[in-house]
Subunit: 342 residues, 3 copies
């Protein structure tokens, strides 16, 4: 990478303040950027590094005369950085075709065997369909009747159970399990009688799923992850859950059976959602919260059980005062009863 | 499936109210059942769908004249539904024998090679024994001296470390790890000296273990999962834990070393149990609770740290009032001290 | 194992009280030790077993005349037990070389093919380097340019993405994923634009990582696990995190992006750490705590959000009194206002 600021500005639709012929050769974080680097400030708390930065240029949302560094001003510096990085780290994919060391059932349907990569030790069951430009890394298991679209990346050691549907441009990271049985048993005296889990999982376009997640198949019908959802690592999604478009599910979240999560929702790390609930659109749930009731559109909640986030913030800074408060109340009671007894 | 209500009633030991010669061809949830479907109501909150359902028949625990749908009355509709679904989704297993693409050590002992399925890319170490009608899916690892009984299903990408014992009719879902080293170190100055973990894991009959769980081997002796236990996904069970019969361990629970969980216990999602504790029989622990002390038989607890559940419920609806309460107490203090100073 | 107490004392640097020619043949827990066993007491609450133990000898930190059992006195009985067990369970490793059923790219560099074990169905990508006496178990995936040092054990079904560096004497348990993409997206209208994750993971010497963990690669630079860190199962470590030497990260902990954990820290089970924080050296965080701000060296904290541990302990035993306290305050208010109204 050897690019002028002028060219960068044209890629990210920005305006250069400074010498637009300067050349940068690397993208680096502002804290340790060197001469020749371009960096970015997407968060006010990093502005403090600008005075002394050795970076050749910085992407920022407002020009400031106070800094001695060339600036490229854009509306969203983080997005501009992401696009720039994507452009300069892009390498065209070479497809390896179907490895002789993979096992494919005879009935597997691959649209174009030259335009896929199926690595050694992949096991693909009967009647599976795989689209173009899809990569299945080593040691992946794909069950019967699974359909995987085009431009997907299935990382090593993923398991996809029978009947699941994965559409286009979906990435699944290593160790994730899609379509394992939902957790359903009926009491039969002292014992638990297994409810057959005969539904599937449907994953729509542009979904990314992190490592070691588990997404259970529906009991009947489908567990559904809608378009554009991004799931972090070690997330559990139970049977018959549906997650709305573009929602963000952060690491170690657990969502219980049949709950419906709206569009553009954020569930922060380690959140738990009970079963059969409805979380509205644009809801934000703080880390470690416990959701035991349905939540209206646009709500911001925290705590276990979750309450209004601003109310939770007030509690959070005060809860340690409870033991002292109890003493204060006891003292008041003595005072007041003493007065009454006078 | 094309069955008369009369035949269904005889399968699930129920009584038909309506035309027992009606034929149903599908099982569907009550919310979206169509003509020709049989459905069930196991939860009062779904009764509202009965007035307008298009289902041909419904399984229910009490006959009601108010609904226009044929009814089959049983004691436990959910169990009846489970048994019906099991009967109609049952397909006899065809065993593939031992795949040539699997690796089996010479000393592996398989009772009947025609009555097992061992899929490609399975690795089976020395002195392993495998019973009849057991299925080992692709990419599974089985360590030395492991014994697996009959009628087991080991899903893809499972790892079972050496010396572990899995009895009969056990199902293990993908990605689960059984017998990894317990987490044990002795301080040696600044460093941690590893305690050899030389025990094993024993899993009794009729246990089902979800996806991506971890069950550590004992330091000495055995980590034990007793008969009929059902474990959800992403559950962590540490070394030397024992879980009693028919207990239910919901997703993302973590149980620390040497704790003993009783029979028929329910640990709801994301519960944490500290080490060296005893949780009695028939205990129920609410979601996200933290157990830091032993719990008596039959207790119902919630919260972190866990308290009596009914007490926790009272706290849960009031805790957000604490900041306001502090203000009220301050005001009272002023009032009371003011009066005193008058 | 058939060893005299004299020999054991010399191994663990202890002093025998009793007949130093007695022979022991097994190591067992004090609760169920039999004649011929040697046991240990590392925790005062196990002293009660000493009066009636059938063990031939016990390792202990203080000699007591009250017990009828031979005693070997050392400074740290738990460490002595660990070292003894290690010595007597040690079996020299036989290396199998490189299995013909593994797949290795031509450019893989293995220092000494006779001094490694690479099991069937392992996939090793281009330009990987592997040191001496390292064991790669079956169904492991190793990405391009990965470097693994000597004396490492990589258990089955582990995935190590490209460019990651694993130094010497590192153990990684089954199902763990190292180097999966960090969770980073920039908002682009309603959608999320993926930030390329072009850094790596560096794991220093003597680290042990449990089963089914996820350690994400850095966005830029490295996610770093420093020397001697011990990580339990199902732990999530996000991109650009650094964990200081000899820290202990217990099961199901989640650490968000860019947070720096100091040396000798203990994060107990199910702790969550928010992003961009600094946890000082020697910090201890109680189980299930939520860390939302940086923590000073040497602090002991608990709770969600975390507060001083001793303060949390006071809260923990009192929080259930809140509903009653609210009633008491209401009563006081009535009393006080009543008096005023008199």
């Amino acid at each position: 990478m050897q690019v002028t600021l002028k060219d960068i500005a044209s890629i990210i639709n920005g305006k250069v303040f400074g010498n637009s012929e300067l050349i940068v050769s690397n993208i680096a974080p502002i804290e340790n950027a060197k001469s020749g680097d371009i960096s970015f400030v997407a968060n006010k708390k990093y502005l403090k590094y600008l005075a002394d930065t050795k970076a050749t240029a910085v992407i920022i949302d407002n020009f400031s005369e106070s800094y001695n560094v060339a600036q490229i001003v854009v509306e969203n510096p983080y997005l501009a950085y992401a696009k720039l990085l994507t452009k300069f780290t892009y390498t065209p994919t070479t497809f390896i075709g179907v490895s002789e060391k993979a096992y494919l059932s005879d009935s597997v349907l691959i649209k174009n065997r030259d335009l896929v990569s199926i690595f050694p030790f992949v096991y693909i069951s009967e009647n599976v369909e795989i689209g173009e430009r899809t990569i299945i890394h080593s040691n992946v298991f794909i069950g019967k009747n699974v359909k995987i679209g085009s431009n997907c990346i299935i990382h090593p050691n993923v398991s996809i159970y029978k009947d699941c549907i994965i559409k286009n441009s979906v990435t699944v990271h290593s160790g994730t399990v899609i379509g394992s049985d939902g957790y359903g048993y009926a009491r039969d005296g002292e014992q638990h009688f297994k409810i057959p889990q005969i539904g599937n999982v449907v994953i729509e376009d542009d979904v990314e799923i992190g490592a070691n997640c588990t997404i259970d198949r529906a009991a009947l019908n489908s567990t559904i992850i809608n378009r554009g959802v991004k799931i972090d690592n070690l997330v559990h999604i139970a049977h018959n859950v549906e997650i709305g478009q573009n929602s963000l599910i952060i690491a170690q979240v657990g969502i219980s059976g049949s709950s419906k999560i709206g569009d553009n929702v954020i569930l922060a790390g380690q959140v738990g959602v009970a079963g059969h609930l409805k979380i509205g659109n644009n809801v934000i749930v703080g880390a470690q919260s416990g959701i035991g009731r349905s939540i209206d559109d646009g709500s911001v909640v925290s705590g276990s059980p979750a309450i209004n986030h601003s109310q939770w913030l007030k509690w959070a800074v005060k809860y340690q005062d409870l033991p002292e408060l109890i003493k204060r109340v006891s003292k008041l009671e003595k005072l007041v009863s003493g007065e009454k007894n006078v």
